[in-house]
C-alpha cells in the first residue's frame, strides 16, 4: 500500500558540502563574467574533457548544468517561452531553449552570472542536439568554436576501434594547440598527468559509492540522491577539492550502509531508473515512488557524464588517450541504444532490482526515442516488470502529477499483488 511520503531529500553532511562547493564554482563563473577571472570554456556534460580545461586553469561552463539549475529553481518557463517567441519550436529540447532564453536575458541567473564564452567547445558525444545548441550559441556570441567530433559507439565490439581512438586523440591535440594559443603557454604535461590521476581516483570513489547500493537496503537513492554528486563530478573532477568531496561522500555513504540505513524507513521495492529526472518537479516525482517504498538502486542518468562502475579509470600514464576513451566509450550518451539495454540488464541483475522504471522525457530524444522498444524487450524477453511514464526534463508544462501518480500507483499495486500471490 502507498504511504504518505516521508521527507526524503538527502540531508547528510555532503549535501551541505556540495552546496558550498558548487556555490564556489558559481562565484568563479560570476567573476569570469565580470572579467576578473579565468577564460570560460563552454562544454557539454557527456564525455567532457574537463581535465584539459583544468590543465590550462580555465573554467568549464556547462549550459546543461545551468539549464537544470534554472529548472530546479523554477526559473525555466519564462526563458523557454522567450526562446519560443524567437522561433524555437515546442518540440525542441527545452534545455537549449532555457539556455538561449537566459543568454538573451543578459546571462543573469539566481545562482550566477554566466560569462560569455571564450571558446565554444562542442564535445559532440552522442547527442545531436549538442551540435545545434552550440552552433546557435556560436551564431549569437560570435565566439570561436571547435567541434570535437567523437565517433558514436556504433558497433557491437567491446572497445572502440583504434581508428576512432586515434581520431579523437588527434583532435584533442588540436584542441591543446588552441588552448595553448588562448592561454599563451604550453601544456604542462606533468600537471595534466596529475589532474588525470585525480580524475582516476575520483572515478574510483564514485564507482565504489555506486556499488554500495547493491546492498539491502541501499544506503542512498541511486537516482534522486546521485544527482547531488553529479555536478561536482563535472565541475570539479580533476581537482583536489573534487577528490576530497568524493572521499567524504564515500565515507558518509559507507557509514550509512554499515548501519543498514536507507533513504526510506523501509525499502520495499528496488528499481532501476532509466531516463533523466523532471527537474522542475523533482520532489513531487520522488514522492510518487517513496510512497511505495521504492528506491532506485541504479540509474542510467547518473552515467551521462561517465560510466565508472564497470571498471573505467583515467590513466595518468596515457592521459590524452584515456580522455579520448572516456569520450568514446565510457559515458552513456555515446553508446548505442542496445548497449544501454545491456547496461540496464546488468543493473537489474547485479543490483538485484525488482523492476525497471522508464521516465520518457519529451525534450531528450537521445534518451527517449524508442523507449517503447526498450519496454518491449524488458517485459517480453526478460520478464522484468517495466513502467513507462512521460514528462519532461526542463519544461514544467509537461508534468502532470495526477496522471503520473495513477500510473505509478497502478504499477506498484500490481507488483505488490504479484508478491503476495507468489508468497501465499
Amino acid at each position: 500500500m502507498a504511504q504518505s511520503p516521508a521527507k526524503t531529500d538527502y540531508q547528510g553532511r555532503i549535501h551541505n558540502l556540495q552546496k558550498d562547493m558548487i556555490g564556489r564554482y558559481y562565484s568563479r563563473l560570476t567573476a569570469a563574467a565580470e572579467n576578473q577571472g579565468e577564460k570560460a570554456i563552454y562544454m557539454l556534460i557527456s564525455g567532457n574533457p574537463v581535465e584539459l580545461i583544468e590543465a590550462f586553469d580555465m573554467i568549464p561552463v556547462y549550459p546543461e548544468v545551468n539549464a537544470l539549475q534554472l529548472a530546479v529553481k523554477k526559473q525555466s518557463l519564462p526563458l523557454i517561452l522567450a526562446a519560443e517567441e524567437m522561433g524555437y519550436s515546442t518540440d525542441n529540447c527545452a534545455y537549449v531553449k532555457a539556455d538561449v532564453g537566459m543568454y538573451f536575458a543578459g546571462r543573469k541567473t539566481p545562482f550566477a552570472t554566466i560569462p560569455e564564452p571564450d571558446l565554444i567547445l562542442c564535445n559532440y558525444v552522442g547527442c545531436n542536439v549538442y551540435l545545434q545548441w552550440f552552433e546557435h550559441l556560436r551564431e549569437y556570441s560570435k565566439a570561436p568554436i571547435y567541434n570535437l567530433d567523437v565517433p558514436f559507439f556504433r558497433t557491437n565490439a567491446d572497445e572502440p576501434s583504434e581508428d576512432d581512438v586515434h581520431y579523437v586523440v588527434k583532435q584533442l591535440e588540436e584542441l591543446i594547440e588552441i588552448l595553448e594559443r588562448m592561454s599563451g603557454r604550453k601544456l604542462d604535461y606533468k600537471r595534466l598527468q596529475h589532474i588525470v590521476e585525480l580524475s582516476g581516483e575520483t572515478g574510483a570513489l564514485w564507482s565504489d559509492i555506486k556499488t554500495l547500493t547493491q546492498q539491502r537496503p541501499a544506503p542512498f537513492d541511486a537516482y534522486f540522491d546521485s544527482v547531488m554528486m553529479m555536478a561536482p563530478l563535472y565541475c570539479l573532477r580533476g581537482t583536489e577539492d573534487g577528490l576530497w568531496f568524493f572521499q567524504q561522500a564515500y565515507k558518509e555513504m559507507k557509514e550509512r550502509a554499515d548501519r543498514h540505513e536507507g533513504p526510506l524507513p523501509e525499502e520495499k521495492f528496488r528499481v532501476v531508473m532509466e531516463g533523466p529526472p523532471p527537474w522542475p518537479y523533482l520532489r513531487q516525482f520522488r514522492d510518487l515512488f517513496s510512497r511505495w517504498g521504492a528506491v532506485a538502486v541504479a540509474s542510467t542518468y547518473s552515467t551521462v557524464g561517465g560510466i565508472w562502475e564497470f571498471g573505467f579509470r583515467h590513466d595518468p600514464q596515457r592521459p590524452i588517450e584515456s580522455i579520448a576513451r572516456h569520450m568514446l566509450q565510457w559515458n552513456l550518451t555515446n553508446r548505442n541504444f542496445l548497449q544501454r539495454y545491456r547496461q540496464i540488464k546488468d543493473y537489474v541483475r547485479d543490483w538485484n532490482a525488482d523492476a525497471l522504471v522508464i521516465h520518457s522525457v519529451k525534450s531528450c530524444r537521445l534518451f527517449s526515442a524508442g523507449q517503447g522498444d526498450m519496454r518491449e524487450y524488458f517485459t517480453k524477453q526478460l520478464n522484468v516488470p517495466t513502467l513507462l511514464i512521460e514528462s519532461d526534463i526542463e519544461d514544467p508544462r509537461y508534468f502532470s502529477e495526477a496522471q503520473l501518480r495513477n500510473r505509478v500507483d497502478a504499477f506498484f499495486e500490481a507488483l505488490e499483488h504479484q508478491r503476495m500471490v507468489v508468497k501465499s
Binding site: 524567437m86 519550436s89 525542441n92 551540435l131 545545434q132 546557435h136 567541434n147 558514436f152 524508442g370 522498444d373
Partner: protein, 393 residues
C-alpha cells in the same frame, strides 16, 4: 492560324505520372522486379539523409532509398515503440519493417542525422537480426583535415561489411565506375535544378521531386536513362511562364513531404526555384574526382564539395548566412521553411534562419508537415495569403 496539336499525354507527363506511382509505392515493386531479373543480386536500403551509395553499388548490390512510407500505410505496430513526439518517418520506416515489407532487403544503412534515427538503427538491429544494419558516423569537425581522413577509414569499414554480404570485394576500378555512374546521375539532377531556377515553368518542383524519389527506387543505370529522356524533352515543353513569386524552400531534407503539399504550394502561386528534397541523393555540388583513391575522394567530397544540410554542422560558414546567400543568388522573393513535424534538426535550424531572414528583410513562410497528411486546405489558404501579400506589395 494553324494550331499545333498537343498530344493528350506527352512523354514527359507519362514519365512523371509513372514516377509518381513509384514514389507512392510502399512495396518497392520496381526494385523487386529488378532483383528478379538479376538473380543473385541483393539490395541495401538507405535511410536519409546521405548515404555513400557508390560503396553499395560497387559491391554489386542495389542501393535503395528507404524513406518512410508517405501516406500509403497505416501505422499499427510502430506507435508502441516510438513515442508520440517522434517524427513520422521513424515510425513509418519501422512499420515497413514490422509489416515484412523490407524482408527483401539484405541490409539497411543509417547514419548520424539526429537522435531518433540513431536509436531507430538499434531498434532495427534488435528486431531484425538477419538484416545487415550499419550505422555510419559522419564527421562534424569540418574545420580539421582529420575529419576527411577519418571518413575514408569509416568508408573502408562499411565497405568491408558490405563485401561480406555481397561476396564481392570491389576493386579500385569497380569503385571508380560506381563513382562515375553516380556522378552522371547527380550531374543530370543538377541540370534539372538549374532549369528550375532559370525557367521554373518548364518543370515543377513536384515533378522534379517524384522524379528524384523514383530514382532512389531503381537501378542507377535505369535512372540515368530516364533522366536523359527528361532532359531531352524539357527544353521544348509547351508551357508558358505564370505570374508567381519565386521562392527557395528549406527544411525538408529527411522526411518526405506529401506530393500534394508541394503541388499546393505551387498552385498557390510559388515557383520553387530550389529545395532540399532528397538532398542526400544529390549531395555533391560537383563531381567526385576519379583517381587512385576512390574512398578518400568520396570522403573528401563530403567535406569539400557537398551541399549544406540541416544535419551537417560546418563551422566554416554560418548556416544562416549560407541560406541568405542562396536566396539572393537565386533572386528569390521569399523563403519557405517547410519542416517535418517533430523534426528536431529542421526545427532548430528554423530558429536560426528566422532571425537571419528577418535581419536580411527576406519574407518567409513556416510550414510544418507530416508525411501522412492528405488534406492541404489550410496550407493552401496560408500560402495564398502569403503569395498575395508579396505580389501586391
Amino acid at each position: 492560324m494553324a494550331t499545333t496539336l498537343i498530344p493528350e499525354v506527352s512523354l514527359l507527363d507519362s514519365i512523371f505520372a509513372s514516377c509518381r506511382d513509384m514514389a507512392q509505392d510502399p512495396e518497392f515493386s520496381v526494385a523487386k522486379r529488378w532483383l528478379e531479373q538479376h538473380p543473385g543480386r541483393k539490395a541495401i536500403g538507405c535511410f536519409p539523409v546521405y548515404c555513400p551509395v557508390e560503396l553499395i553499388h560497387a559491391s554489386g548490390m542495389l542501393p535503395l532509398g528507404v524513406i518512410g512510407a508517405g501516406n500509403q500505410i497505416e501505422i499499427t505496430f510502430a506507435d508502441s515503440r516510438f513515442q508520440s513526439f517522434v517524427c513520422s518517418i521513424v515510425k513509418s520506416t519501422l512499420e515497413l519493417g514490422l509489416t515484412n515489407r523490407l524482408n527483401f532487403l539484405e541490409g539497411l544503412l543509417f547514419h548520424s542525422i539526429c537522435d531518433p534515427a540513431r536509436n531507430l538503427s538499434s531498434v532495427f538491429q534488435r528486431n531484425f537480426p538477419n538484416l545487415f544494419v550499419e550505422y555510419i558516423h559522419f564527421p562534424q569537425n569540418f574545420a580539421s583535415p582529420l575529419a576527411r581522413q577519418y571518413l575514408a577509414r569509416e568508408y573502408r569499414r562499411i565497405l568491408d561489411g558490405l563485401e561480406q554480404r555481397s561476396g564481392h570485394a570491389p576493386t579500385t576500378e569497380d569503385l571508380n565506375r560506381s563513382l562515375g555512374l553516380y556522378n552522371q546521375v547527380r550531374s543530370a539532377l543538377r541540370v534539372i535544378y538549374r532549369i528550375r531556377t532559370e525557367t521554373p515553368h518548364l518543370i515543377s518542383a513536384a515533378e522534379s521531386f517524384v522524379l528524384t524519389r523514383a530514382g532512389t527506387l531503381m537501378a542507377p543505370e535505369d535512372f540515368l536513362n530516364l533522366l536523359d529522356q527528361v532532359l531531352r524533352e524539357l527544353p521544348t515543353r509547351p508551357v508558358k511562364p505564370k505570374d508567381r513569386i519565386r521562392v527557395v524552400l528549406e527544411g525538408s531534407f529527411c522526411e518526405l513531404p506529401p506530393i500534394g503539399l508541394i503541388e499546393t504550394l505551387e498552385q498557390a502561386g510559388c515557383y520553387i526555384l530550389d529545395d532540399d528534397f532528397l538532398r542526400g541523393w544529390r549531395w555533391f555540388t560537383e563531381d567526385v574526382p576519379i583517381g587512385d583513391h576512390p574512398l578518400a575522394a568520396l570522403a573528401e567530397s563530403y567535406s569539400e564539395r557537398a551541399y549544406y544540410s540541416g544535419t551537417k554542422h560546418d563551422s566554416r560558414e554560418s548556416k544562416a548566412e549560407h541560406l541568405i546567400r542562396l536566396a539572393r543568388e537565386k533572386k528569390a522573393d521569399a523563403v519557405v521553411f517547410q519542416a517535418a513535424k517533430f523534426c528536431e534538426p529542421a526545427l532548430f535550424d528554423y530558429a536560426l534562419y528566422r532571425k537571419a531572414l528577418e535581419e536580411a528583410k527576406i519574407p518567409h513562410l513556416l510550414l510544418e508537415f507530416e508525411e501522412k497528411t492528405w488534406s492541404f486546405d489550410r496550407v493552401r489558404s496560408e500560402a495564398e495569403t502569403f503569395v498575395e501579400s508579396l505580389l501586391f506589395d
